[in-house]
């Protein structure tokens, strides 16, 4: 009896399924996803255009943006900006993806630079209008990092601020270990020596870590864009089609990184609830992280730390730059009046002045060179290190940031936890990444 019921159910679902696929149009599901464009009538005096702006939830960013919006609305009485900043970073893309089919969501959105290709491929963003954002001006006035977001020959987004990596060190721990608290390691070799000296163990358990590789944090970026270069490799070919960070030279860099756990045992991201937490709580002496961490570290009680440029090798300097950038969505572009308002808003939040406000509130550096060149920034004891490295920072051309990150995390774990040979683990990971790029470029000829 029971079986019959199941069979019936299976047949029924198959029928419904067939009906669905038969009936549903292959063409785009109408223009349902985008609101019908309003009739292009002249804007009446007193009429208010409302646009929606979304960014992820991060208090200091929200505060600065609220201020900017207030100024913008005062200068443009005909425009009202709704600020949605409720979504946590980790869910941001998922929520956008959920909102898009419903035809709701932002007119101007802030996205991670590594997501840009995906958003453009989905047709979610429209190119920045060239008359409002001339490419020549972008290339002249903004940090070179922004050029990394040029895709299909166009600019699709523009940032207020950018970040880079730096070495954070705990001065009290340096002092306790007999090291000069004002002299962080300058080279990779010194970095290893210091890590060892700063590690303390008790009964086989690490009680104080010198350095812990946080692959789930910034270490994969550090490896991909910085360490490989310092070991003489160019991680990406100029056309971003060939990945070289799985090469023999890159593997030397990778081995250097794995040794902190397999050989020197100076710490692990598995301990003390992760390296960032460990550094904040004084259980880790040296940490590689981004400028966005400054806010949280400054509010940590009793933490006496410094920020320095990344250690070099053979005098090769390199850094990884990343940024959250703002683009105009298809929804924003659907209505000429909203598009006009969106362009005005986007221009307003990417001026040098906005960048200066941003760095004060968030610790991220202004994307406009004129604001970034402010001598006060370079002289700042914490921000100075980031500012100094900006000129040679490189933004990675990601095609699937989440997967590329995971592949390196897995490679690192395979080495330290499963004794896989480092070069094999790395080569496997980069092979997977290369497949993602091959697929991406096959779609974007």
């Amino acid at each position: 009896m029971k079986l019959h019921k199941y069979a019936l159910f299976a047949v029924a679902s198959a029928l419904i399924l067939a009906a669905c696929s038969g009936a549903a149009p292959t063409a785009p599901p109408a223009a349902a996803a985008t609101p019908a464009p309003a009739k292009p009538t002249e804007a009446k005096p007193g009429e208010v255009i409302t646009i929606e702006y979304w960014q992820y939830n991060f208090q200091s960013r929200i505060d600065v943006m609220n201020d900017l919006i207030k100024q913008f609305e005062a200068a443009n009485p005909g425009i009202k900006v709704i600020h949605n900043s409720e979504i946590p970073n980790a869910d941001f893309q998922a929520k956008i993806a959920a909102a898009a089919p419903a035809g709701v969501g932002p007119d101007v959105a802030t996205l991670f630079n590594g997501w840009l290709t995906g958003w453009v491929n989905a047709g979610y963003l429209v190119p920045l209008p060239e008359k409002d954002f001339p490419p020549a001006d972008i290339e002249k006035n903004f940090t070179t990092l922004v050029q990394g977001t040029k895709f299909q020959g166009k600019y699709w987004a523009i940032p207020t601020a950018v970040r880079s990596l730096a070495l954070f060190w705990n001065k009290d721990m340096f002092k306790a270990a007999g090291l000069d608290p004002e002299k962080p390691p300058a080279t990779l070799d010194e970095f290893v020596e210091y890590s060892k000296k700063l590690t303390k163990t008790e009964g086989g358990k690490i009680t104080q870590q010198g350095f812990a590789v946080e692959m789930t944090g910034q270490a994969h970026q550090w490896f991909r864009e910085v360490l490989t270069r310092q070991y003489g490799e160019t991680p990406f070919s100029a056309d971003n089609k060939t990945l070289n960070y799985g090469s023999a030279k890159s593997c030397e860099a990778f081995k250097w990184l794995t040794k902190f756990e397999t050989e020197y045992k100076t710490g692990s991201n598995d301990l003390f609830d992760g390296a960032t937490t460990a550094f904040t709580n004084g259980k880790l002496a040296m940490h590689i992280d981004g400028s966005f961490r400054l806010g949280a570290l400054n509010s940590a009680k009793g933490l006496n730390y410094g920020v320095a440029v990344l250690p070099t090798k053979d005098n090769i300097k390199a850094n990884f730059g990343s940024f959250w950038t703002h683009g105009i969505t298809k929804k924003g572009a659907a209505d000429p009046k909203r598009m006009e308002a969106a362009v005005k808003f986007l221009k307003f939040i990417t001026t040098p002045a906005a960048g200066t406000a941003w760095v004060k509130g968030t610790g991220e550096l202004p994307a406009q060179l004129s604001a970034a060149a402010d001598p006060a920034l370079a002289a700042d004891p914490k921000l100075g290190a980031f500012a100094k490295q900006m000129s040679y920072s490189v933004a990675t051309f990601f095609v699937d940031e989440a997967k590329q990150r995971q592949n390196l995390i897995d490679a690192f774990d395979a080495v330290r936890l499963q004794n896989v040979e480092p070069c094999k683990a790395l080569a496997d990971a980069v092979k997977k990444d290369q497949a993602l790029y091959d697929e991406f470029w096959a779609k974007n000829k």
Binding site: P28, A33, T34, A97, G118, G204, T216, G274, I409, D413
Partner: protein, 299 residues
Amino acid sequence: MSLKNRRVVWAYIFLLVPLAFFLVVRAGPTIFAFDVSLRAFNPMAEIKPYVGFDNFARVFKDIADPDHVTRKAFENTLKYVIIGTPIQLSLALGIAMLMNSIRRFRTIFRVIYFIPFVTSAVAVAWVWRALYMPDFGFLNLVLGLFGIPSQRFLFDPNQSLLSVTAVVVWQGLGFAVIIFLAGLQAIPETFYEAARVDGAGRWRLFGSITIPLLNPTIVYLAVLQTIAFLRMFAEVVNLTRQGDGGPVNTTTTVVLRVFREGFGSLNMGYAAAMTVLLFAMIMVISIIQFRLVQRRVEY
């Protein structure tokens, strides 16, 4: 309309609410998922073209690749079922039999075992994360008292899956115990007495009376727990570092893969194809298990 008829009408009207809920919240999305699985479905894109069975072909290709994370997800999910279900059922049965044989404090024990079941999986996971912590976690402190070296549990690829399974087993134990207890209490004491008179020992009583008469309960629980293990998600997300199903994908599950692929990489079509496969797996396993329970219980 007679009073009786009117009552019946009202009963149907009230039943319409859960029916509507079922159709809108359960059946609708399920059918939608079948449709999605046949498309190149990027939720951010306007055009989501049909691609036939391409998504399924990709899923099967990835399952065939022993190093692929999708393969690992299916493997792990089966491991959770194969390891978790028998352990959970035998533990629960043992505890239920012990509780059935005592008279005092039975209610207290019942409450103790049931509390984890009504606690949020997220809260449970984070408490266990702390217990499992390498070096200074509670479990390692206990092991240290016995001179056993510190274990890495969730961070060791050889222990991670078992560590996750243990949490899930522990959390679901109370429910299984209560159901077993009800089943045990439904077995008439006279059967045992008669068998004892005939000279049956403890194991004979267990094997020839308890187990056969509990068969419907066992299968019911087996089906339920199997499905629970097949759908595992929240526990892994909250127990593993950044919810990535690591280390080295040793704890990832099919549902976690669905989430990552769908919302992380925006390959909703591929993700939906995996859910359809999971749906088929759950259906087949359930049918087999229900057929087992349909075997008549001989008194």
